[in-house]
Amino acid sequence: MDYATFLQMLDSTLRLATPLMLACIAGLYSERAGIFDIGLEGKMLAAAMCAGAAAALSGSVWWGLLAGIGGSLVFAAIHGVTSITFRGNQLISGVALNFLASGLTVLVAQSMFGQGGRTPPLNGPARFQPIALPFAEEARAIPVIGPFYDEVISGHPLPVYAAFAVVALTWWVLYRTRFGLRLRAVGENPAAVDTAGVSVVGLRYAAVMVTGVLCGLAGAYMATALQAGFGKEMTAGRGYIALAALIFAKWRPVAAMWACLLFGFFQALANRPDVVEAVVQVKVPVPFLTALPYVLTVLVLAGFVGKAIPPRAGGEPYVKER
């Protein structure tokens, strides 16, 4: 594999890792607050449909983004009401929302546009355009670093850069702010938060809503940047890979970024079996590459790569003790 191909792979890694990163950090907020969210997939899908539809109708990607976040927030709110207010089973709620999103998105898109459950193809200002960073062209002349800057770092649409900013921001929020302290506490021992006079319900709703916003961003990116419009099941299990990355990263934001980059790299590999074959000299079946993130996650869960301890109160509705 030559350097140019390698850079191409890294470039596509970044683009593919972005929705994973956003969804993974989204899940981090919810799960750190003690609410399991298996419905990242459904929220992304709903967001992608809303974003695709709104961008197509308005011709502006910003309306698309707003609609995407709105759609995802509706799903997040339902999950919040079932699992926080009504103390329902969080896994069942998440699975149900995934099914709902899977069917509803196609139904709405079909009834709105009549194009087989797709939204119309987007172009121009209805999509996030690549942003050329300063001096990208000029830097090409510098050997090795120059092409890397131009090819890999520069020239991505806004959400890619936003995803990295979200990781940094999340680290800061989690470990340096009052909200972060309370968020981590409520996922570990909600009774401690409650007796300290802080609302468990309020914190958990806040976390679930942040999850909704970030999933919305991830879904909008899928429909308006990675691809040009919404298509049936276009998230293709990314919500689950993001969950796997979250476990792989042991619920820590910076580790989550690395996990998502790794899993994004696997996806980039799966898109280019020819490159893989050229490097390892053996024909590797694509499904194997697609399965790698899950295999790694199982290894982590089985305790081969350190120990993944989930937030202690995760999945349990909080009921005040007598």
């Binding site: 981590r184 570990e188 006079g197 802080v198």
Partner: protein, 514 residues
Amino acid sequence: MENGAYAIELKGISKAFGPVQANRDINIAVPRGTIHGIIGENGAGKSTLMSILYGFYRADAGQILINGKPTAIPDSQSAIRAGIGMVFQHFKLVQNFTVLENVILGAEDGPMLNSSLAKARKTLAELSQEYELDVDPDALVEDLSVGHQQRVEILKALYRQADILILDEPTGVLTPAEADHLFRILKGLKAQGKTIILITHKLREIMEATDNVSVMRRGTMVDTVRTAETSPEQLAELMVGRKVLLEVEKAPASPGAVVLSVQDLRVKDEHGVERLKGVSFEIRAGEILGIAGVAGNGQSELMEALGGMIRATGAVTLKGQPLPLSGKGADGQSRRRAGIAHVPEDRHHHGLILDFTAWENMAFGYFNEPEYQKNRLLMDNAAIRADTAKKMETFDVRPPIPGLQAKSFSGGNQQKIVVAREFEQDPDLLLVGQPTRGVDIGAIEFIHKQLIALRDAGKAVLLVSVELDEIMSLSDRIAVMFDGKIMGFRDPDTTDERELGLLMAGITGKGEAA
């Protein structure tokens, strides 16, 4: 500025949960700067009353006065603002947070953590000097001993500038030395003018530490008396509503042949850490061997290994027959067949299935008994029900309804179900773990009598309890465990709590640490 001599006054507090009247017209007045005890059986309404005071529940009727001022406490935030701090029986700490993070949680100064942490560090240093409350502010809570975790809870309350400190059963998990330290801390706090409410079921602590004591029974406040003018016997009578024998009456033991012989018993946990480090002892027929120790020093492993619940190594014989410690025959069923009955330490996890009925629970472990079979295929449920009704009567389980779910019984009556099931099997050896944990004083008296009766009938009994009083009054011999080893055997008639307490802390009679 301050009016009224009372830190807390409750007037006519009532609270009902559905048809259950948990608190009925409670009146209590706690003078400022005193330690006030609240004592009562389980279910007497102590916890409900304190939950109302801490804003967990709202009273249906009545008034709360803090420092003479009527105060509404709709939530914990209001309670904290009114200067009330609470140390719960089960600590409300975040295990993987540092001490400092736990202290500031909910009491941060602003949206950023750094300044709050710095301020808390300074305040904590002052507080720990003032009140003998030393803890490392940067230690993770999960690495701290139970006694230290409790100090963190007290520090949390003091950091929130609590004037009134409520402690719910604070000594249940402490060694006698740690408990003494706690009472020194409380006396220091009192000297600084703080008001302390101590909820406990231990009469000795009430007598030792409090100025006044209020007694609750079945949701009502029976009486409030000055501690100096009362006696344990009087308090027990007020709690139960009848005279109670605090001392267990028993004849001297007449030990017979060796029933259980344990040689070099060792147990490793799932992480490969040795929890039981070579324990050896014998129990004879007609003898109660009491195991004293702070919870978590290998007593549970000892019980579970003998009960066939976990694997162990070593040599154990029952009436001369070797007992397998791992592999085939090392399970609860085989142990029961060999003649060992087991009242497990944790009745909710190992003794009962709470969603099952009393009669189903009464048959656990004994489903294969011939008298429970209708024919080769079917169980005789009617026979089990009848048998359960009989045992419930013998053991005074209330209400005596075999069809009632186990979780509908009070803690004491749940324990009586387990005890009835195991005691009535005519075992050679009885393993009894924490027989009176969470059991009220009337039922304790009953269970103790039954244990003595079993001993007098020539059974061997291994008794594990964290209640030193219980061990001292029931045992014919006492073994003290510390760190997976037996520190020594003592005769209950010639030893005292101080000596046992030192052994429980790992300090042998010669003064060196083990």
